[in-house]
Amino acid sequence: MPAQFTLSRARLDPAALGCLLADDSCGALVAFEGRVRNHNEGRPVVRLEYEGYEALAVKEGTKVVNEALARFRIEHAGCVHRLGPLALGEVAVWAGVSAHHRDEAFAACRYIIDEVKARVPIWKKEFYADGDSGWVNCNIR
């Protein structure tokens, strides 16, 4: 795995990404794909746009993946996040982990996706079927 966290404006290819983690010593590979859903909190969604503070996003995402490599007994790990406009069903984020055993692979994959969602400066704008749009988690109080 050359880079542990990257951003992409092109479609993700989970199969190719999984191959980067393959290794004859690894019995287990766990991969997570976050896809664009056609609804959120009850509202029909038609498309999304992701925006990132790219320099810090790559730094923080790389930190997350390195934390996973340090905390869990895993061999390889990586994560890629899309930026720009996405259609329904497209893969917005991919995280994958390979390990000798599945316990650690599941735990590390979960750690990466949870931390990336919580910490990496990427924002999602949803466009709804009724023509409205909004930045997720930025509801004005």
Partner: protein
């Protein structure tokens, strides 16, 4: 007086109407700088906000210095 660059993303970018601006400020901290810009641009009240200076997450009490690049980070929503 410090000359700093501020970059805006997502909801703050839309409200500011620009991706970045350079400005002179006498703000003694990131918090004071945000208050200044909030008033000027009419930023919305957000559920949470972080600040980064020169590509590092920083404390709100951090000073802002000449040449700094400052980014205010609305609630993230990756994935």
């Amino acid at each position: 007086m410090a000359r700093v660059r501020v970059e805006y993303f997502a909801v703050l970018r839309e409200r500011a109407g620009c991706r970045e601006e350079e400005l002179d400020t006498q703000a003694g901290s990131a918090r004071a700088l945000f208050a200044e810009l909030e008033a000027r641009h009419g930023f919305p009240r957000l559920p949470s906000l972080q600040v980064a200076i020169n590509e590092e997450f920083r404390d709100w009490d951090s000073p802002v210095s000449d040449g700094d690049t400052i980014v205010f980070i609305p609630p993230v929503a990756g994935g």
